[in-house]
Amino acid sequence: MKSIGKNFFLWGVSWLPALALAAGPDAGQTIKQSTNWTAIVMFALFVGATLWITKWAASKTRTAADFYTAGGGISGFQNGLAIAGDYMSAASFLGISGLVFANGFDGLIFSIGWLVGWPVITFLMAERLRNLGKFTFADVASYRFAQTPMRTFAALGSLTVVAFYMIAQMVGAGQLIKVLFGLDYIVAEVLVGAIMMMYVLFGGMTATTWVQIIKAVMLLGGASFMALAVLLQFGFNPENLFAKAVEVHSKKEAIMAPGALIKDPISAISVGMALMFGTAGLPHILQRFFTVPNAKEARKSVAWATTWIGYFYILTFVIGFGAITNLIPNPLDYFVDGEIGKGLKGGGNMAAVHLAQAVGGDVFLGFISAVAFATILAVVAGLTLSGASAVSHDLYASVWRRGHVDSAAELRVSRITTLILGLVAVGLGIAFEKENVAYMVMLAFTVACSANFPILFMAVLWKDCTTRGAIAGGVVGLVSSVVLTIGSASVWEAVLGNPKGSAWFPYSSAALFSMSAAFLTIWLVSKLDKSPQAQKERALFEDQRIRSETGVGAATALAH
């Protein structure tokens, strides 16, 4: 125990960049473990219970409105839990606790980053979204603008974010099933694809919401139990926990201080912006604000979501330190060949899973494995639903049919789209099996903060914004975020195989540049736009402002 060896340190650093850049459920390439029947049975119970709920939800999903937003009848507290369920991914749970396990304090920096987007949504977006929109964020972005171009672009922005986010989830599912259940990669793709399609296809938003609520409760419960068990070992005194961790960890005192995670201030601020404003541009999160009856409940949703997500990140920090104190002293049980230098069995993201066994035995290990996998299922369902809504509500009903469509036809299109998206998700999952997808989640956030967030923000809050300005800015944000990400080390070197040091974009995230470029373009093009259409759009701003601020005329908010 005295000397853990340099190898442990090297191993810890070697996978840090990937995690630091992504915190996607990036399990890397994992090795299949022996079949874990307890975990499989627990997961089967979860699937059974959620499919039973889906059957009930199906009887309530009769119109397009039911499909998109569960008829707007979810309470603020329920929606808060569902948002938390939508947002707390397997990456946050396994990735951040693994990061804490390897580096200590640095994991906390990440947790904080993933939380700070929520106040932005609360203070600036939640209420206005609810007052202006009905089913999708494109409703809000296109409120006073030319419908066809605006909705087409917003749908494109949604689908791009959904695609990147989805690839990360599907590949993560395949890698995780090998270590959690001991099943093959392909089984995960088919399972996730098939079950998720059943939720969304038959139960729409009602089923998706309840799947997310159940998953959130299970994840919060399981993580709370683990954190409590760890604190109990140290008489509920964190100082004792940290003292023991410093004693056994190879980095000693260094785990109590910031390390190599933040290299330069520009990258730090850029990553921070992607997380802070990207959260406010994620289509599957924004759609959740239309499931509550009014602005009051929308605000309550975010307050509860922020509370649960923040609490959860504090738990992952305790869990990471608990893994240090519980796993490192027992290398035979948890490390490859019993050697700490060879890393954790199943990879660096398995810290929380091994800790589950250490504090709760095989049954609890099965429970946590099932929860980690169910987490991916719930996130993928939310993504698919928002992708299907972008196609059926924005592209089909609003652009193609110009709003002249009945609810039954729209519902049919959303279901067909769900099927197609499900198949696409499985296909992408299989296609990207051997690829390094560590950058995908970060790319989804970067696109969300550079394309979706600026057009939403300017359309709602700036009088002079016009269709041309919004679209020009959105295109600039979308293209620059993708291009600059390709030029950064996480893609240029790690994925495209160019030599080390050849990446032409020197920072960890494009957000600072691509988001600024998007805002600047919207401002400039709108200012130069003297067309009659632009005049009309500016004149409509006052009425939009009154509706967004007071809720008069908002969908189902007031009885007329």
Partner: protein, 103 residues
């Protein structure tokens, strides 16, 4: 009709005062959240030694831990403070403005 109501709300000076006040409050809270977060991140970038400092001599816990957890708790707290005020005081004024416009 909604259009009439909009016109009456628009000509009501208390509506403009109210929106200004609420937006100023929201901007203030956003700034507080951003200062807490970027303050912490810039400390990480520029003054790692400060965060590594021990809470008290002889302790292992560094100053960075309560500060970091503090940012999380602070974020949750300002969210609730805003939501309570918006759902209480602000919504009451809002309801009154709408009521006046409906007359």
């Amino acid at each position: 009709m909604a259009a009439d109501i909009y016109a009456r709300i628009r000509s009501n000076p208390s509506f403009h005062r109210f929106v200004k006040r609420r937006n100023r409050y929201a901007a203030l809270m956003t700034a507080l959240g951003a200062i807490a977060y970027y303050g912490f991140i810039l400390l990480v970038a520029y003054d790692k030694d400060f965060l590594a400092r021990k809470l008290m001599p002889g302790m292992v816990t560094s100053l960075g831990i309560p500060l970091g957890v503090g940012v999380i708790v602070f974020t949750i707290a300002i969210t609730w403070i805003y939501v309570r005020r918006a759902n209480g005081e602000f919504d009451a004024i809002n309801a009154q403005i709408i009521e006046e416009a409906r007359k």
